[in-house]
Symmetry: C2
Subunit: 221 residues, 2 copies
């Protein structure tokens, strides 16, 4: 069961990113839930490595907000409460609005058609009621717009916010009914981008996330 790597490969890659990815996966798939402690020794044994790289990976994850460090007690999966989730929504709204505004000024034809393809793919997923396909497409669309804004720090922070919010969302926050509305917003945003209307694109992008926040709020009841 434990995939030990006994063979010592020449050092072409560090194992720290692998550990980091593994912990993110464990959180993503629900094997590690909010509040759970990371057992360094057990994880090291399971991955067939020592504790050093695990601790380094945990430090990174603690810094991004996925884990929290407690002295002499180790690293715990960060529990995101409702207030914090709403905080992150607000932040994402502000950043996505900024991305929309900036992207409208500098986006090129290739990026525009890539976005259009993603909107179209989402429309097909909606028609097929295929949420499993829709969800990653939705994430990718947002990511593409962020990258189109050509702000390195924004592109660096966005995925971290997504990951932390993911800790809360866990399951089924994207209701079936909201997908159509959401993709209509994508379409409108795309048209503002194509028109180069930065003020409109910024407004639409921000509202799009705030609409998501609204859906999130209603889903809490």
């Amino acid at each position: 069961m434990a995939p030990r790597q006994t063979d010592r490969v020449p050092r072409t890659a560090s194992i720290v990113p692998l550990v980091r990815y593994e912990i993110e996966r464990l959180i993503g798939c629900g094997e590690l839930v909010g509040g759970a402690r990371i057992n360094e020794s057990a994880l090291a044994l399971r991955l067939g490595i020592s504790r050093g790289p695990i601790r380094e990976a945990c430090r990174e994850l603690a810094n991004t907000g996925l884990l929290q460090a407690e002295l002499n007690r180790g690293f715990f999966v960060h529990e995101v409460n409702t207030k914090q989730a709403l905080d992150i929504y607000d932040l994402r709204a502000s950043l996505f609005g900024m991305a929309g505004k900036l992207a409208a000024r500098v986006i090129d034809a290739r990026q525009l058609s890539a976005l259009a393809a993603q909107v179209e793919a989402m429309a097909q997923a909606i028609a097929a009621h295929d949420l499993a396909t829709y969800y990653p497409l939705n994430v990718a669309f947002h990511q593409s717009l962020i990258e189109a804004a050509d702000n390195y720090k924004l592109a660096q922070l966005w995925p971290l916010l997504e990951a932390e919010l993911h800790l809360f969302r866990r399951r089924g926050l994207v209701q079936g009914g909201s997908m159509e509305t959401s993709n209509e917003e994508h379409q409108a945003l795309w048209e503002a981008l194509r028109a180069g209307d930065d003020a409109l694109a910024g407004r639409l992008a921000e509202r799009h996330i705030l609409a998501g926040k609204g859906r999130f709020l209603r889903s809490l009841d």
Copy 2:
């Protein structure tokens, strides 16, 4: 010269944050400049500790953007080029605008008077042409407004952006002449906050940072 700590204290604190702070200090005071490599062994010897905690601190700093990791070559002080500095200014403008908007809705009397005191202290520093006093007050004022916005993630990210921008600013970017203008903007922002005018406060806050970006741009010539 090297402040070795030979006495073994009971474990009431981890040394990782201390190392992190030390590296930040070395960068801040210019002993480590952009592009420089962190010599783990030398730093360990100098601080009287082993390399483990140093590596963990570096991982954190790499994640915040102050350092960059290169396989088999270690950690390097991130060199922030002009484009990236401008990116960070844009991001700060967006976030500070958001902070102004949110703070105007929820700020209380105590926080308002604290901000007023900071504006007043800055005015005195300006009158005395005391840049060494003005600069930290300015940073603290921004920090206070961020905290008044009551968004935990925003409060978490803001100092990281400040630190990374600091890598570029290094010395003397706040020209003497701009302090008055800047503090007038603080004053106007404060009045919008007191009036509870969230839209105005948001606009003024964003413009304040963008004005800083403008001064930064002009100082490059």
